[in-house]
Point group: C2
Chain length 438, copies 2
Amino acid sequence: MSEVAIPSKAKDRLNELSASDAARLIAGGDLSSEALVRDCLARIDAREATVRAWAFLDPELALRQARERDRTPARGALHGVPIGVKDVFDTADMPTQMGSPIYAGWRPPSDAACVALMRAAGAVVLGKTVTAEFAGMTPGDTRNPHDPSRTPGGSSSGSAAAVADFMVPLALGTQTGGSVLRPASFCGIVGYKPSFGRYNRSGLKMAAESLDTIGSLARSIEDVELMDAVLLGAPPRKAGPLCEPPRIGVCRTHLWETAKPETMAAVEDSAARLARARARVREVALPEEFAGLTGARDLVGSVERSRAIAYEWHHHCDRISERLRQSLELGSQTPHEEYAGALELAARCRERLARVFEDFDLLLAPCVPGEAPASLESTGDPRLQRLWTALHVPALTLPTHQGPGGLPVGIQLVAPMLGDFRLFDSARWVWEKLGGPR
Amino acid sequence: MSEVAIPSKAKDRLNELSASDAARLIAGGDLSSEALVRDCLARIDAREATVRAWAFLDPELALRQARERDRTPARGALHGVPIGVKDVFDTADMPTQMGSPIYAGWRPPSDAACVALMRAAGAVVLGKTVTAEFAGMTPGDTRNPHDPSRTPGGSSSGSAAAVADFMVPLALGTQTGGSVLRPASFCGIVGYKPSFGRYNRSGLKMAAESLDTIGSLARSIEDVELMDAVLLGAPPRKAGPLCEPPRIGVCRTHLWETAKPETMAAVEDSAARLARARARVREVALPEEFAGLTGARDLVGSVERSRAIAYEWHHHCDRISERLRQSLELGSQTPHEEYAGALELAARCRERLARVFEDFDLLLAPCVPGEAPASLESTGDPRLQRLWTALHVPALTLPTHQGPGGLPVGIQLVAPMLGDFRLFDSARWVWEKLGGPR
């Protein structure tokens, strides 16, 4: 098992192809980008009224890009493959509205770096996906494709829902707290937040600069790696099997008690089965000091956010949600010493975590409290993801389990800073052993 | 001496006031923002044909802001004070053209974070100052106010020239290599590049994300601190005298042989006089490994730049300068392992530098090779500033010396990471002892 299970009987619909398979078929002349995009658009047509994943979608514009790809020589590893782009990235040919009425209809003059790099590799930007307001905590309209009465998570809500619902194989997201891994886990797909700084943020609307990390949402690790290679400007990496099973630290974190039984079961079942698969699995506790990290992250987040959208706050306060306004007020009133202290705590914990990793290749941690809550008023509790975002380390969620409602519950895998390639290799090994969802 | 010497007989012109003095006079009701802005505009009117510091200036718009400030209660520490803004920061009411014909006349939808914070503290944005193309190495039109046949340095060319020429007391700049300290040194003013990450980059056009640092250009340390407090959202800090003279390391760096006699003399004269003023002055050599840092910085810079302006490169290549095109090509062709290796070297050197600072409060280093070169084709050699930018540490230049042509030559003071407040205190002590320029 190295791909999200497809609910229909067979891969008879092109929109169910992975990005990697689609790219291979297009490169081999066995598939046209136009046919692929048409099937994605048909899926959207059938499901969008329920899922509401797209902030902007112009079928004709998407098809024009696809036909242009079909007419021209292959540009790169994503030639002809449709992608979704979270609506906080600038796009020169589509509005960038950031989940805020302040930016209704706004058109940037250029593509964000990541969008330009994906297009340069041949990708077709299918459309812009719904984001919570300014990539924060106030939800957009998107529903969980597994159950539309439930949140898809956020803030990369549309990217996660669109990929999970087979509207598009691959999408860009961002994570400042838990905005990639939480929606990926709730929607039952793969979500990857790289080491801080791995992908270029030029042309991205900042939320909290020392935390904002661009990530990806996909249905396979191979597709995560495909996007990774494109955004690094690197040739696709030849990943071999691991020489030996990874050393896995089971890290329940100080937030373990906030997890529901399904999350506890997902972590414990994974640990047991990976141990049986000959991984060296041991419990690991983070130093006491780490308990302060989620609070420190929230403080840093609200201070930096109050600066990043100072203009909008001062000029369009009436069009900012109450929830965001409260966070901005809190942030702008925080004394500098407290902010500096929170940054120092995070820096100290990053150093200490590097030493924890001397004994482990990978940490296995809870990803979300449980399956997606039955509400559209909130995107869910981000604390279990925030901890790792504050630590800047790469993290990936796999859709290995299910909760009592039959909805997906992911596990979280965490690797040391800059250990992204190792994370991919280990995660592939883990997913092969676990399969899922169960 | 704690301020750049004013060439005219007395401070009879308001444009020669420091930002701090102007703010105090306005707050006390002894000066109107309008009168101050009028004198700045008169100075610009008299000198701009020679200096060419401004990329956009609308006198009526500036005066409207000033009159609005005069009509309304004080907003904050910069109430009514005009500032210059390098033309890579978004401004909602003025074009943001980034020294590139691609962005001729472009109007952003909002103010960059730093601009919004300065306006929220009452500042009047006088206009946008000339930047080298995308804050890189291809010069704009600006001349050195001390000798218009010479470069003002870059890429914050207009900000440095405007402040040096008494057109505005204070300006925003950015430094990715040497873009704040070099023009400040060439123009004979104070330039400050904070610890990496100190000021929020939301709404700034990125050049190279892991290096881009927002900084300030001013004629006094007090003004640098005033802007610092505003951008941190902190109340102005009460700086006392140092308890004892600082421990100063004279750090010639591996680039010492690239310095001209006037720079060598500036460093050696400063070291000798500070020792006489009872500072503990000792030579310090950086570890061998640091010699690779300038090359590593250039590699990181070109890779990140090729991503940050990928859109412009792919769509408007014909409107990008030859010099920048070459750097983009180089960057986009650099293998990922080389880029990752350069980042690792920088990270390692940062750790080692922290240990060097266990014995010193401050490093005294050469800032520029010598006085501003007699050319407008290049903004000068950035290597002596780049070294410290790559190390993320705060650095400040003071206009303490002159070269053989009578032009300014600054020294560079460097403090440990996050030691910005200590840098201000030490720099004030140093400038009191050295005075300048000599």
